[in-house]
């Protein structure tokens, strides 16, 4: 009983990013980037609604967002958006049963076939694309 309880880590066990390798890190990045993008969507909808209050209100809002700080936030949003898209497509394909290997006999050292090099490569490609998009976005935003 005591041993069974000691194995019950609850959310901490599920959320531990040091377990299950790269896939758990991708799981965390997907959720954090999703929450960030939802926060940005709400902010963006509020920001654009100021256009209804006339040119002065719109220009006032732009004076807050068209700043180096605002541009840094936008660059981070670009990165989150590209990673979320790339990794999301990987998750969709995996959920369709592609690229996760075939189930087999559990043999020592119990290496899960789903943690394949293809999956890891897709995650790294998503991160690389996000970094490239951030660099391009920074060039456009700070180049003006």
């Amino acid at each position: 009983m005591a041993e069974r309880l000691s194995n019950r880590e609850g959310i901490k066990g599920m959320a531990n990013p040091t377990r299950y390798g790269m896939l758990r890190v991708a799981y965390w990045l997907q959720r954090l980037s999703g929450l960030g993008l939802l926060a940005y969507l709400i902010g963006h909808i509020y920001e654009t609604s100021t256009i209804l209050n006339g040119k002065a209100a719109w220009d006032n809002m732009l004076s807050l967002t068209e700043t180096p700080g605002g541009h840094i936030v936008l660059v981070i949003v670009i990165g989150m958006c590209v990673f979320h898209t790339g990794n999301g497509i990987r998750v969709m394909i995996s959920e369709g049963g592609k690229g996760i290997g075939r189930p087999g006999q559990p043999e020592y050292p119990y290496k899960a076939v789903s943690l394949s090099s293809k999956q890891r490569l897709c995650i790294w490609v998503s991160i690389a694309l996000a970094a490239l998009a951030m660099m391009y976005g920074a060039g456009v935003l700070f180049g003006n």
């Binding site: 959720r31 993008l37 609604s49 256009i51 068209e66 456009v140």
Partner: protein, 114 residues
Amino acid sequence: MRESIIMKIHYGTALGAVALVAVHILMRLSQNFSDSLSYKNVLVNYHLLPYALMLEVILVLLSVHGFNGLRVILLELKQGRSYERAINYGSIAAMAVLIAYGSRTILMAGMGVS
């Protein structure tokens, strides 16, 4: 509604949003970024019916996808009948409020009420 159907909607809204948001961003990059955000330019965007319709579709797709994603995260953290019901209805309500607020901007700016 079955979770499998909700996830299909989640993935469908994601793919639709990716395509349309790409067009939305390309419109900003079709000219100097700062110029594209000028008051006059943004109003012209809203007055263009196909573009305004696209913004409305993006708003719906992203609201559905975003709040369903938040619902999934919250349901992963905790379970329970009343908690799950609160999260499900809360997500739908938040989604509806955001769509209504965004649609108000698109409609009023499109009709020239600014």
